[in-house]
Symmetry: C2
Subunit: 351 residues, 2 copies
């Protein structure tokens, strides 16, 4: 398994399968850990950073899952490869753009990504398609337990796991889901959801994490609290109460739209298909927005002949780095807009 | 020839033929006249208005062109018929919405429309497809001469023809062209043209005359001066200098766009075709805007398989009153948006 093989399919987080897949695109669990006896990354010398990278790299590639893992030396990787990893949600933007020694170990199915020397020495992530938070939590706990047998993580008996940023102290756990909420947006109810999320101490962000605008109709919702609750408490609140209620809001909004204004939905969906199949210039933001409406139409069975697997793949394959990798050439944004439109027309006019 | 027959074709002003038809949609000449010895319309009693209407109706239907003319008693006509006449540019909005005795005589080919009791007792109009102002002026002069042999028009030896509004005093002549200027609009040069027009004492308006927004990329440009120049001077300035220079600006802008950003044009045109062929809800404003871009694409030979005659007809046939007449039912704006989209899909997905 190599990085170059990744461009040919959708990646775990956009497979468009799994429980509640009509609303929940993907589920993600992340743990932050630091090696005891070493300064936090920002306080390290470069040789210490190198030491951490080498030590953690050896450990994460030595576990029982090692045969399925491949490692990317992110500092040595080219810009396009780093962007590719960001687009696939395998590393963060910050990790891609830094300059110190760092890397990521990824499982062949992309459900597991272990970032070394991101904000913390080790950031473990499990990503699963659809609403599979409980499963993702089981996976990450197993990985954490296995690594903890061989590594000494910085831990304080009162505060819990110590992290570079105080917002992660305690469990070091962050759980999040990527939701597709077009009906709440169309009916103007999305603001209410933002307020509800804020009341529940949840954070709402765009597709690519912190500091990004919510693109199209996708919203990433995550916990803000890592301290004072057990890991299982955090996960079970999210799994049992919060996510199901958001899913329910969106489903009700879709039903109401269909009952009251079916032509409004059909119009938006039909226009989206037509534009994706016809435009000559297309930005990745517009692509995302239009694909999300096509996805809605397919989920509501308002259109036929659109293959959901193709639609889900296109979300990712039309992103800047993926597009350049697939077409095997570097391009300016203008060139990409033309190439993206061509690629979409080719993919969507097959039948 | 009856009013009901008009809904099946495009009407003279949107036939899309004639000289410089790539930019000049239509040419229009209008003369304002009032009967000597009668007060202006606003000062008339209703019986005087009736007298004027009867007298002028008899005269306009007695001339040599009479066999080709049909008369619509606008006061007696239904609302839909009156709107239909407005959409075909055969009467003004004011004429449609007034309540006093009034009417219009129209030639079978719709090039001639003689409005009785609009702002003046008689408003004569000749409308021709493409850039045919000189021809239109010859036509209207002949009609004016013929009527003047039988009627005494209010005329002052110093000021010329007297009209209800001082802006028309003198020749009572207004000449105008409807221009299609998408490239000047796309390249942001349209404001310069507005300034130039203002410097030349020209007025720029939307599709339906005074007080209307310029819809899509259509602009009606007309003279503001009726006093102090002869009729032939006004027409020849317009014909020989002004209109050709505007046409030239637009053609240069189109060439520059094609040379520098062909994908930008192709994208706009392809999106317009796709939306017209796919949308489920469509307003008449959006229809106008999209059709104008399709027209541009066809004129620049950037698309094939679109019949220009169909496109030109659709501009008019998708207007609210036409649509309701064609589909033979009265509709709310929401119902029209759905019906219009259906009609467009049917018409544009034939081949």
């Amino acid at each position: 398994m190599r990085l170059a093989d990744l461009t040919q399919h959708a990646g775990e987080w956009l497979r468009g399968e799994g429980p509640m897949y009509d609303v929940v695109i993907s589920s993600r669990v992340r743990l932050a850990r630091n090696l005891a006896g070493m300064p936090f990354l920002g306080k390290c010398t470069e040789s210490q950073q190198q030491e951490i990278e080498q030590r953690l790299r050896a450990e994460v590639l030595a576990g029982p899952a090692a045969p399925e893992m491949f490692y990317v030396d992110v500092r040595a990787a080219g810009e396009l490869d780093r962007k590719l990893l960001v687009e696939r949600h395998l590393i963060s933007r910050q990790h891609a753009e830094a300059s110190h020694p760092r890397g990521v170990a990824v499982s062949g199915d992309e459900t597991v990504a272990l970032m070394i020397n991101e904000e913390d020495h080790l950031r473990m992530q499990v990503l699963r398609t659809g609403f599979q938070l409980a499963q993702a939590f089981e996976d990450i706990s197993r990985i954490d337990d296995s690594l903890e047998q061989r590594l000494d993580f910085a831990f304080h008996s009162r505060y819990g796991y110590l992290t570079a940023c105080p917002t992660n102290v305690g469990t070091g756990l962050r759980v999040s889901v990527m939701l597709h909420l077009p009906a709440l947006k169309m009916t103007g109810q999305i603001e209410k959801l933002f307020h509800a999320a804020s009341d529940m101490h949840l954070e709402v962000r765009g597709l690519y994490g912190e500091g990004t605008e919510a693109t199209g109709d996708f919203f990433q919702i995550s916990n803000q609290t890592t301290l004072g609750k057990s890991e299982r408490q955090i996960v079970s609140e999210f799994v049992d109460t919060m996510v199901p209620s958001f899913v329910q809001y969106e489903r009700l909004a879709r039903e109401a739209l269909l009952a009251e204004r079916p032509a409004a939905i059909d119009d938006k969906v039909a226009r989206s298909v037509a534009l994706l199949r016809s435009a000559r210039l297309m930005s990745s933001d517009e692509t995302m927005y239009l694909l999300s409406l096509v996805r809605l139409g397919a989920n509501l069975r308002r259109i036929e002949g659109m293959d959901l697997k193709t639609i889900n793949e296109l979300f990712l394959l039309t992103q800047p780095a993926h597009l350049q990798r697939i077409l095997n050439r570097e391009m300016t944004p203008d060139q990409r807009a033309a190439a993206r439109a061509d690629y979409l027309r080719r993919k969507l006019n097959l039948n």
